[in-house]
């Protein structure tokens, strides 16, 4: 069975995912095939013993066919919750709401279970962070990959087996891996298995949640390269969820920066990471150490907010060096600025200017 070869987009085409004055697409979605995922004002709330926690608050973005998007944020910012919310995979104490959450034009939130189960893996698949715990320890690799295949595609047993070998080969694993158990493989091999599994049903969108965090640096590079290569070859859209800006800088065309459940900046990677417009993004970029750096390591002071008692106004203001009185009163709304980026900051232009100074000084 031939794998789908979609027409991938090269990385210097202008991003379609940012809504705003620069976007030309009709609002009624008359180009449904170009848009894989549409997320508008997504909110996810956990109801816990300590109160209600808004883990995701008003996130909006679009994913087009073949897009490569990076979702960046520190631990606890809600990025994992967001990834899982897209497939309604959150625990029972979580509520997901959105103005719109559609996959290929179909509303995910109101979908009946049978349809949702088809979308899961058949339309959108996931690569999980810790392959050892994400895989069933008492089942062989082959039978674990076979399960989604038999759920979504009706193949004969021989065809299924061929498909499994095909997938393993795609991620550069030997066919005998199918007969092994997860604990018998190395970390890198397990992660490749996860990737193979994610691709098994020809998804249109793959969400990779910290795909390389549990690996050492060398493996990280290998796995990332593989993901990139597979994406170019097969043409699926990719969302990489990570805390590592370096990964995003290398692999993704567009970057979404998340903080305390909200998107604080979104746009082309080169712009967002090259000349950030939000103090948090600026902080993230500055705290990534370079090889040449001999100065003291920069960190963003303070800690992420306690979401049961969030700060008033802008959620970032307690840690922000650009803070003014308005920041405590009013939560900034997302607005587009020059360069096509959308940002949530009252002083985005100032931040951007400061960032450009930095780059200019660094290059001087």
């Amino acid at each position: 069975m031939k794998l789908k070869r979609a027409i991938g987009q090269s990385s210097d085409v202008a991003p379609k995912g940012v809504t705003g004055p620069t976007d030309n697409e009709p609002a009624d979605g008359s180009q449904p095939t170009a848009e894989v995922l549409l997320v508008e004002n997504l909110r996810a709330t956990y109801s816990t013993a300590h109160g209600l926690i808004r883990a995701v608050d008003g996130v909006s973005f679009k994913v087009g066919r073949g897009d490569r998007i990076g979702l960046v944020g520190e631990s606890g910012c809600g990025k994992t919750t967001m990834g899982r919310a897209l497939l309604r995979l959150l625990p029972p104490n979580a509520t997901v709401e959105a103005d719109a959450l559609t996959f290929m034009g179909r509303d995910v939130l109101s979908m009946p279970d049978s349809e949702l189960r088809r979308v899961r893996w058949g339309g959108i698949s996931m690569v999980f962070q810790n392959a050892l715990s994400a895989l069933n320890p008492v089942k062989k690799i082959g039978s674990q990959i076979a399960i989604p295949i038999s759920t979504h595609m009706s193949l004969s047993r021989g065809d299924t087996r061929r498909r499994i070998y095909e997938l393993l080969e795609m991620v550069r694993l030997r066919p005998n891996v199918a007969g092994l158990y997860p604990h018998q493989l190395s970390g890198g091999m397990r992660q490749r298995v996860m990737i193979a599994m994610a691709l098994s049903c020809d998804p249109s969108l793959v969400i990779a949640d910290e795909p390389t965090t549990s690996l050492d640096v060398v493996r990280q590079d290998e796995i990332l390269a593989e993901i990139e290569e597979l994406q170019a070859r097969l043409g699926f859209a990719l969302i990489i969820v990570t805390h590592d800006t370096a990964i995003v800088a290398e692999t993704c065309d567009r970057t979404l920066v998340m903080y305390a459940g909200t998107l604080v900046e979104a746009g082309r990677t080169s712009t967002v990471l090259g000349s950030p417009s939000h103090p948090y993004t600026l902080g993230l970029v500055r705290s990534a150490p370079g090889l040449e750096d001999r100065t003291e390591l920069y960190t963003i002071g303070g800690r992420p907010p306690d979401l049961t008692h969030p700060p008033t106004g802008c959620l970032f203001h307690p840690r922000c060096s650009y803070k003014a009185a308005i920041c405590e009163r009013e939560s900034p709304r997302p607005r587009g600025i020059a360069g096509g980026t959308k940002v949530r900051c009252h002083f985005a232009e100032d931040v951007n200017a400061a960032a450009s100074d930095l780059t200019r000084d660094a290059n001087a």
Binding site: R84, R120, V138, Y181, H183
Partner: protein
Amino acid sequence: MNWPAYLTRRILSIVPVVVAIVVLAFLLINLAPGDPARVLAGERGNPEYLAYVRHKYGLDHSMGYRLWKYGEAVAQGDFGTSLAYQRPVASLIFDRLPATLLLIGAAQVIAIFGILAGAIAGARRGSLFDRATSISTLVVYSTPVFWTGLMLIILFSVELRWLPASGMTSPLAPTSGYGHYVDVLHHLILPAFTLAIVWYLPEYLRLTRAGVIQTMNEDFVLTARATGLSERAVLFRHVFRNALLPVVTLVGLQVGLAISGAIITESVFGWPGLGRLTYESIGTRDYPVLLGILFFTAISVAFMSIVTDVVYALLDPRVKYA
């Protein structure tokens, strides 16, 4: 998995236990008030028998020598002679063993329902079924097994007259063939049921339920859901198989420790097994039999622990292919 090495190691680990039991039994006899010879030979033993016992167990000599003689006897399979029955204890135990095994086996079969119920309760945590089964089994588990047995006798034998109150067979029933089996089964129901619901079923239910709940929180269950499996498929293809592994261990150990429950149940229902033998021997002060039963149960527990470990190693690929 290196089976010969593993098995050797496990069997060797039993040795200290066996030695400890021998020493324990020895100490119990020799430190008891009164003459150890009388313990082993009986209050009314004739003088020749007393002398024989003194000689055999070296009771006129030092403790060390006595221990040696005692161990020697045990190693040869000689567990003493029953005072009441005037037979070797070992053969007496083996005579009564089948009845007890039948009782325990039947109780285990009934208790399997506890595993089923536990799996459902865990999968439907917080539901009416879950709460109802958890509470009811906890209440029954808290009752003394002999009391519950008596209550059931009052209900089913005295009031309703559906089931016999004691014994394994009725005097007027056929002693062989189909009729015999039916008769035994008829007598088996009440004691096996009592033993199961008070002793085994609640534990199995609780453990399975906890295992299912814990497994459902594991990451691979999330993966399974993410791949589009229905809840049912997730449960049957992933959760249950993983959750039941530790239950296997428990079942194995329970069979080993089952004697305690059997003792009381057999006493209540007059079931002619090891338990009833214990009860009788208490009354007749038949110490050699009691000690023999202590040995036997301890060793069967040790043995069952090996069997359980091996079965678990076979079932869990993380151990099998370490």
